[in-house]
């Protein structure tokens, strides 16, 4: 078990290193840097002033030096300085993390609460009208842009109830109820999309398990259909579902990029977009790297969970 975790951690670190190269190279391809953008608003800049700023931001050094410097910073926990805000990057990023994590967690709750039961119903009623309707419902979720769904939800609330959701962030200490409402709307929009994938996997995995002998045995013993499905079948069908949930958690952040913008929530994803538009390299680099770390850690957690959920999975070699 320990050897397995060590090996997975090693692979994870290598992947992260590769990702850091990709992220760094991509951002350096960008036409125009922060200095151009800062001064495009200010009009004329004299070249001396410009050089001074470039030196201060470290942009005059060779690219590979900038890369090594960035890696050193990540390892030591110093995330550099935001070009635009002239503040340590970590100070800007830190307050954004809880917002995004809360939204991602809520979306995941919606996705699981919707996806697993619907998947079970769809599998039990295989090839009936209900099954078809549920599958169309889930496919519709996969087809709608979640940011558009978010806009439609807001519009509906306004049109039907004459109620406009808060346009600025409400912290839980300010007004807990409003905070929960504010977060559950985007969570609903994003969670619906993710629930589609969870529902499909639950359905196909359950269908497979229900063909097994032990299910027939349980039925033959006279156990009720409900007990057979929820207690016997689902337990074994849940493994692939857990994988998808793990993958979805990481990829939810991708879905949040636009949704946070629509709902004007001060999270990582919305800030990433702003930082990209500003070419604020340290912020973009670190945010994307953070997302990469979340992806890798959640994959690792899913692998670990297998051992608890399914004793058949052994972490030998």
């Amino acid at each position: 078990m320990k050897a397995y975790i060590a090996q997975r951690l090693g692979i994870g670190l290598l992947t992260l290193l590769g990702m850091s190269v990709v992220i760094f190279v991509l951002l350096r391809l960008a036409p125009g840097d922060i200095v151009d953008i800062l001064f495009s608003t200010g009009g004329y800049v004299n070249p001396v002033e410009r050089q001074a700023i470039e030196r201060e931001l470290g942009l005059d050094r060779p690219v590979w030096v900038q890369y090594v410097e960035w890696l050193r910073q990540i390892v030591t926990g110093d995330l550099g300085k935001s070009y635009r805000y002239d503040l340590p990057a970590w100070e800007i990023i830190r307050p954004l993390i809880p917002v995004t994590l809360e939204l991602a967690a809520l979306s995941l709750v919606v996705a699981v609460a919707l996806g697993v039961p619907l998947g079970v119903i769809s599998a039990v009623r295989q090839d009936t009208a209900l099954d078809y309707a549920l599958r169309v419902f889930s496919l519709a979720g996969l087809s709608m842009p979640s940011f558009w769904l978010g806009m439609v939800i807001i519009l509906t609330l306004v049109a039907w109830f004459g109620w406009i959701p808060p346009v600025t962030y409400v912290s839980p200490s300010q007004n807990l109820w409003l905070h929960v409402v504010q977060f559950s709307l985007p969570a609903l929009a994003v969670g619906y999309r993710s629930s589609a994938l969870i529902m499909r996997i639950t359905r196909s995995s359950l269908l497979e398990v229900m063909r097994e002998d032990y299910i027939r045995t349980a039925r033959a013993k006279g156990q009720s259909g409900r007990v057979v499905i929820w207690r016997h079948a689902l337990k074994n069908a849940i493994l692939p579902v857990v994988t998808v949930i793990g993958i979805e958690f990481a990829f939810l952040i991708g879905g949040l990029v636009v949704t946070e913008t629509v709902f004007n929530l001060p999270g990582l994803a919305r800030f990433l977009v702003e930082a990209i538009l500003w070419r604020d390299y340290p912020i973009v680099q670190n945010l994307v790297m953070f997302i990469a770390i979340v992806v890798i850690v959640s994959n690792l957690v899913v692998d670990m969970l297998y051992g608890f959920l399914d004793p058949r999975v052994r972490y030998g070699h």
């Binding site: 590769g18 992220i23 769809s122 599958r135 519709a140 558009w148 806009m151 990481a250 997302i291």
Partner: protein
């Protein structure tokens, strides 16, 4: 009577072993996969709209008209007008062209590049395969939209750049699917025979193995088309995709539309509906094609 070769036209025996015609195949597909047929129909409608956008549009999609700002849907403007007085219906019709071109081009570019990488990686095997797989892991590790976002920011907004930005995240997904299929084909006897004949490796890979991966390839392309259209919409929405003045569905939903949304909900409703229908169509078609062409991938 002329003599016939023996064994032909034995009374009562099935006459033909000929392949069923295209129409028969199509009819059978529609009967067995009604949802897939609906998806195919939706895609045809969108293709038709994109091709004949100039004929179908009632207004110039770019022309502004201050007097018609935020006009309601009606006989004048079927789906209303935006804040600059541009006709929404005409913009959606022209937007079909942009969305479909960007969607198809990026899907094809990503799938072909990924396909070639998967083919070579699977065929060569060994260390090359191992290294390629790790590189693909790295590319696949980032959420599709985040990678496309960084790419399109790096390249700057223009239609070819958006196509490239969307195609890059598709590469690892395509490489994986094609590699898996090549791994099984590589071991087949006819490949061994080709090798025994002394054919060059590249020739075997591209002439003899590649054509047999066409099934998974088509399934892959239809599945990715939907997400490519969605990513384009999201990028354009954020202002990092299709630049003005091209009418793009995502662009139509962007911030300026959101500002007027409460006064003029049609600004938000219809472009989003167009995106959803296009993606829904390609998803339905993709699912049905997967079940038909590639039973091994059968899912929910």
């Amino acid at each position: 009577m002329a003599t016939r070769p023996l064994g032909v036209e034995v009374p009562g025996a099935p006459v033909a072993l000929h392949r069923p015609g295209a129409w028969t195949v199509l009819a059978r597909f529609c009967r067995k996969k009604p949802l897939g047929a609906v998806g195919g129909f939706l895609m045809l409608v969108i293709l038709f709209t994109a091709v004949f956008a100039d004929q179908l549009a009632t207004y110039d999609p770019i022309a502004t008209d201050a007097g018609q700002s935020l006009a309601r849907p009606g006989p004048e403007h079927w789906l209303g007008a935006d804040h600059l007085g541009r006709d929404i219906y005409s913009r959606i019709v022209h937007g079909a062209r942009v969305s479909l071109i960007v969607g198809l081009a990026s899907t094809l570019l990503g799938s072909v590049l990924g396909g070639v990488i998967g083919l070579l990686s699977g065929y060569i095997g060994g260390h090359t395969d191992l290294v390629t797989q790790r590189v693909m892991d790295i590319l696949q590790g980032l959420p599709l939209l985040v990678l496309a976002l960084v790419m399109s920011a790096a390249l700057g907004p223009s239609i070819p750049n958006v196509v490239i930005a969307i195609s890059i995240p598709i590469i690892p997904r395509a490489a994986r699917v094609i590699r898996a299929s090549v791994l099984s084909i590589r071991e087949m006897q006819y490949v061994e025979a080709a090798r025994a004949l002394g054919l060059r490796h590249l020739r075997i890979a591209f002439r003899h193995i590649l054509p047999n991966t066409i099934g998974p390839f088509i399934v892959l392309c239809t599945a990715q088309l939907g997400s490519a259209i969605l990513v384009e919409a999201a990028l354009s929405f954020l202002g990092l995709g299709i630049p003005e003045p091209y009418p793009s569905w995502g662009r139509m939903l962007s911030v300026s539309a959101a500002e007027y949304a409460q006064k003029a909900p049609w600004l938000v409703l219809f472009p989003g509906l167009a995106i959803s229908l296009a993606v829904f169509g390609s998803n339905l078609l993709g699912d049905a094609l997967r079940d038909t062409l590639d039973p091994r991938l059968r899912g929910g």
